[in-house]
């Protein structure tokens, strides 16, 4: 009893205070009160006027009011119809705040107030109105956020907000984004055909994915059939049935779908109808065991149809007549012909430019693949070209390099340091392996190239199995340092990952290093001497054994470094080397033996060719490799000695 009294008293007190507060000047409250009916019973249709007035008033509280309204946090006091912000309290009462000042007004019983519950339509209108505030927010981050929100879910209503938000935008980047977005929205939502066409034309040759996303829906079409061509429709093209674009079956299916022709009886339906009409082992007088051909079934079905048991089959003549009696056409979903024409034109120009950029991107891809092949093949080219030795275990040296990188990473956790350690270590290890192999095996097989090929193959399978036994069959990761993550992005079409750039740089370094070693150093001189005339070189005091050993070590060492590089972007497995060996051979053969430039050209050709074929047939990399190998086989027809061939008597035998 006492409690009720106290509560009533407290309520009265608060009411008094509230009344005082309300009596103070509150333009926003006044504005809302003026439109009280529309606010209370807000609907999508009636709300616009209120919001426009609110926005036009320029009152500082408008934004918060709208935001709270949308969040259903505005309540109305029943007794005087005033609006308040509100917060439900744990004791089920409602704490009201003044909408002008935000000061607490008092605690009210739930029954004394009423929550405004705008429906979703109203809320979205309010949200649109709020976007304008967000776009003009003093905080640039907020503005960017607002733009992102529009980019994610553009709506017609955003258009006005965007246009209103140009003014006062002092960040040029944000202004550009706003303007771009405005043009995009104009394309999609503006009522004015001329404005849309102008916006569309402004995107001519634009590479952005968003531009294509805005333009593409404009050119979407629906294939239709009708008795005659509709005059008011925006028609892209009339299509004749029986052509590659529209087969007769498809055309008839269109007619059936449009209910312009009866559906054809499928073989399965025919079969079901026959089964349904089996009477004592025969259908329409035909014994069922004879119904094992399509002709017999059609005959039996025709008999049934003649008796009226089943619907008659649509004959070929019916189909012909139906197709002849109708027209087939692609109709734009967008009714405005000016817009579709402009969009079509803009898309054509965009696709031309995208094509050019894709070629550029493809060239980058090809280049990076080429640098990988170059790295993988150059060691082979040295041993093959200089010594005439085919090293089938070259792929396994690449694998050894990759595993070296993996092991180093297990020991040194810092990825940058471990890569810096792994590169020379991989070189050293594979150099040693190469020298050992040369000393133990290859030395004994000079001038017997086919046997060298087989012996090194034996080493190859042994090494591969050994790696399997040590490291297991599952792939081991070789993680690149963080600064190699990500990609260098030129535009929406052209980009290249930093790892690939790093591999490219590495292969360029090796190109020049090798050119330097072979052309400018004593070792290179001796190597060339031994290549051209080993006996003469020996008589000049050069030790061919030493040179062969060093050359082989050098070629193998580079394979090890290639292994680290390849391991960075592919998983390290015991089959890593085997995956590259055939391509490496191809590179050497296509390039021409015994020439670093030849290997470079060969790698470039094979790399870009493979990417090119993959581009023509992106779904199928297996087929791409097949075609590439076939191409190489044909290429060898025209340049049996490779792109850069040795000429003259030296090349003869």
């Amino acid at each position: 009893m006492t409690r009720t009294v106290i509560l009533a008293l407290r309520a009265a007190l608060f009411w008094l205070m509230a009344a005082i507060a309300v009596n103070a000047q509150s333009p926003i409250q006044d504005l809302l009160q003026e439109n009280r009916a529309a606010v209370e019973k807000a609907s999508r249709k009636t709300i616009d006027g209120v919001i426009d007035e609110l926005l036009a008033s320029g009152l500082p509280q408008t934004r918060e009011v709208l935001a709270k309204w949308r969040e259903k946090e505005i309540w109305q006091r029943k007794e005087d119809g005033l609006f308040f912000f509100a917060k439900p309290l744990p004791n089920k009462n409602i704490q009201l705040f003044d909408i002008e000042t935000g000061d607490p007004v008092g605690e009210f019983d739930k029954k004394a107030v009423k929550q405004l519950k705008p429906n979703s339509g109203v809320r979205s209108v309010i949200a649109t109105a709020l976007v304008r505030y967000q776009l003009t927010d003093p905080d640039p981050r907020k503005r960017a956020e607002g733009l992102r929100a529009i980019e994610r879910g553009p709506e017609a209503s955003h258009l006005a907000a965007l246009r209103a938000a140009f003014e006062g935008e002092d960040d040029p980047a944000l202004l550009a984004r706003k303007q771009r977005l405005e043009r995009l929205l104009t394309i999609s939502y503006d009522e004015d055909s001329a404005a849309r066409v102008a916006a569309i034309e402004s995107f001519t040759g634009d590479l952005g994915v968003d531009a294509r996303a805005a333009l593409n829906p404009l050119t979407s079409t629906t294939r239709k059939a009708a008795a005659e061509l509709p005059t008011n429709a925006n028609i892209k093209a009339v299509i004749k049935p029986g052509t590659a674009r529209l087969s007769r079956d498809q055309a008839y299916a269109l007619l059936v779908a449009a209910e312009l022709a009866p559906a054809r009886i499928t073989a399965a339906e025919k079969k079901d109808a026959l089964i349904a009409n089996i009477v004592e082992g025969s259908v329409a007088g035909t014994p069922i065991h004879t119904l094992d051909t399509d002709a017999a079934r059609t005959q039996a079905y025709a008999t049934l149809a003649a008796a009226g048991t089943v619907p008659a089959e649509v004959t070929a003549a019916d189909v012909d007549a139906a197709l002849a009696a109708h027209v087939f056409f692609d109709q734009y979903d967008e009714p405005d012909a000016n817009v579709t024409d402009a969009a079509q034109e803009a898309l054509t120009s965009i696709s031309t430019k995208v094509g050019v950029n894709q070629m550029f991107d493809l060239a980058l891809d090809g280049l990076s693949l080429a640098s990988i092949y170059f790295l993988a093949a150059i060691g082979l080219a040295i041993t093959f070209g200089v010594m005439g030795v085919i090293n089938m275990a070259h792929g396994e040296f690449i694998m050894m390099g990759a595993y070296t990188g993996y092991v180093v990473q297990q020991v040194i956790p810092d990825y940058t340091v471990s890569i810096i350690v792994a590169l020379p270590l991989a070189f050293a290890i594979t150099f040693a392996a190469g020298v050992a192999m040369e000393r133990l095996v290859i030395r004994w097989l000079y001038n017997r190239p086919l046997e060298t090929l087989l012996a090194t193959f034996g080493i190859s399978i042994a090494l591969q199995q050994l790696a399997k036994n040590i490291f297991g069959t599952q792939a081991r990761p070789l993680t690149s340092p963080a600064w190699l993550d990500g990609a260098l992005v030129f535009n929406d079409v052209v980009s290249i990952s930093y790892i690939r750039i790093a591999i490219f740089v590495l292969s360029v370094i090796f190109l020049f290093l090798l050119l330097f070693v072979l052309n400018k150093t004593r070792l290179g001189l001796e190597v060339r001497a031994v290549t051209q005339n080993p006996r003469m070189a020996a008589s000049m005091g050069i030790n061919p054994d030493r040179i062969n050993m060093l050359t082989f070590g050098l070629g193998s060492g580079i394979a090890g470094i290639a292994g680290v590089a390849i391991g960075l972007y592919a998983k390290v497995t015991s089959e890593l080397g085997a995956d590259y060996i055939v391509q490496s051979f191809m590179t050497v053969v296509v390039g021409g033996v015994g020439n670093i430039w030849g290997t470079l050209l060969g790698a470039t050709m094979i790399g870009s060719l493979q990417k090119g074929i993959e581009w023509l047939n992106p779904s199928n990399t297996l087929a791409a490799q097949t075609y590439m190998i076939i191409f190489i086989i044909i290429f060898i027809q025209f340049r049996p000695k490779g792109i850069i061939a040795l000429k003259g008597r030296a090349a003869g035998d």
Binding site: K647, G648, G652
Partner: protein
């Protein structure tokens, strides 16, 4: 005497080096000819061109009575047309018997199916034996060619050339590494062969050339410097300068 082989105005360049420079050369039926010249004069390249191993950059190589161009033919076609060649190093099939070596060279149909269905006749065997007699290898017939001495290999190769029954024989340094007695035999073989066909011998050894007693052509820097009897060319001052008078 009618011309068997007419080479006119051929030139060939290897990587900027002009190995043959506007060279012309004729040889008639049943003529023995020696070609001499210093190293790099283009003797071997000349043989390469005639036998189809190297294609000249320009010039003509005309063969036989029907004036066929050899430049459009492959090595094997030229060989079948009647040009036989002996290389500097003796190249016989060392893994096979002397008999098989000679049999393979015997003038017969050369197509794969003809060879596959070939049945050795007594006539062919007699031919092989006759050849072996001529080159002095009768006793070595069942032996593997790889077991022969160097001079014997040279003869075997000459024997294989004769078995081909060529109309033109190109012989590259046949006497290299032979003892005097072997040289004598070789000289006789070549002279005998030249009675029925044209024989071109490339040789460094003046003594050997003198013994051949035939017309001599001197090559220098890819073209013909002089031509005539050995005495005639050795008297030529230019020849002495570039070659003999070194």
């Amino acid at each position: 005497m009618s011309t068997l082989l007419e080479v006119s105005g051929i030139s060939v360049t290897f990587d900027g080096f002009r190995a043959i420079n506007n060279l012309s050369f004729n040889i008639g039926n049943a003529e023995l000819r020696a070609i001499i010249g210093p190293n790099g004069a283009g003797k071997t390249t000349f043989m390469d061109i005639v036998t189809g191993k190297t294609r000249p950059d320009e010039g003509r190589v005309i063969w036989g009575e029907k004036n066929i161009s050899l430049l459009k033919m492959s090595e094997s076609q030229i060989a079948r047309a009647g040009v036989g060649r002996k290389f500097q190093r003796p190249t016989v099939f060392e893994d096979q018997s002397v008999f098989d070596n000679l049999l393979m060279a015997l003038k017969k149909e050369r197509g794969p199916f003809d060879v596959l269905l070939y049945r050795r006749s007594a006539q062919d065997r007699d031919k092989v034996h006759a050849l072996a007699d001529e080159i002095g290898l009768s006793a070595e017939l069942p032996r593997k060619a790889g077991e022969l001495a160097h001079g014997q290999k040279q003869w075997l190769e000459i024997g294989m050339l004769l078995a081909q029954e060529p109309r033109l024989l190109l012989v590259d340094e046949p006497a290299a590494g032979m003892s005097p007695a072997e040289r004598e035999h070789t000289t006789n073989l070549l002279k005998e062969a030249a009675k029925t066909r044209a024989v071109v011998v490339v040789e460094h050894d003046m003594e050997f050339v003198r013994r051949l007693d035939c017309k001599v052509t001197v090559f220098h820097e890819g073209s013909v410097l002089a031509e005539g009897s050995l005495d005639h060319v050795t008297a030529n001052q230019e020849v002495i300068d570039v070659y003999l008078g070194r």
